[in-house]
Symmetry: C3
Amino acid sequence: MDIERIGGGAKGRSSGTAYGGLVWAVAVDPKSSPSMVDQTRGALARIDEILAKAGTNKSRILNATVYVSVMDKKDEMDVAWVEWAGDDPKGWAQRACVGTKLAPGHLVEIVVIAARET
Amino acid sequence: MDIERIGGGAKGRSSGTAYGGLVWAVAVDPKSSPSMVDQTRGALARIDEILAKAGTNKSRILNATVYVSVMDKKDEMDVAWVEWAGDDPKGWAQRACVGTKLAPGHLVEIVVIAARET
Amino acid sequence: MDIERIGGGAKGRSSGTAYGGLVWAVAVDPKSSPSMVDQTRGALARIDEILAKAGTNKSRILNATVYVSVMDKKDEMDVAWVEWAGDDPKGWAQRACVGTKLAPGHLVEIVVIAARET
């Protein structure tokens, strides 16, 4: 079974991969906005794009890891997350949020695993 | 193929998800015990609960990520982990343990991916 | 469906697991070299070994998480990563690199999920 690769990352890596019924995606805010809310919105919009290229969408995310570089701003990240996740629990991913160092300028980086129809 | 969601988290997220033969689960200690050993036991007991709801158990965990907020207490986490993992290597997950910031009061947060019969 | 376990870790955990078409692997540099480039090469060589035991290889990695304990040395990690990932984008994993604390002596720890033929 073939692996699909979605480009857009630096040399040596993909922004997304898909294999059978599963899709992986990683994103940061392409604009490196100064605010955590805006960076989260930017990263989640990028996740939406990658999932669309792989034939799925945010309502089918299974697992998400949210890395934030400033844990004191987790609440701001959550504002954008809840807005994006929507009101239907049938679309809510299992999620962990942890504070880590990130590359300069990044406040948040998000990795998800989603299901797709095959 | 449907995705199953196991609730119990905050708005916008699930404690567990299941899709086909795979299950994802996240847990912290619901009691926020002051000791790392106790928090780890509490989080692992919660993992057991979520896996049971998804029709599997700890002997079928494939991958685990253990986030600890105080790396100096990793040995205490390991005491609870080894006790929980048991003596049979056939049930031992691939695991990584890393030191990250966590939400206030949490010493450990655990994410696992497990297999289940379909 | 059986789960395959690849040993080599400490008590209570495996270095790798395989289930159906998916393989999980974790590695650090077995030699704990003092340089980030060398530790990354050592960890990636160990990943190669585990994947080989599970019947796959680096060109089929779907997702990678690179934990580095010194984010200022991420560029050195990337030198080894790019060299290892090779020139063909068809083999490039979705990857996230974050700065975390690691066990003493470790500069980098790598976890991957790969596809394999079943």
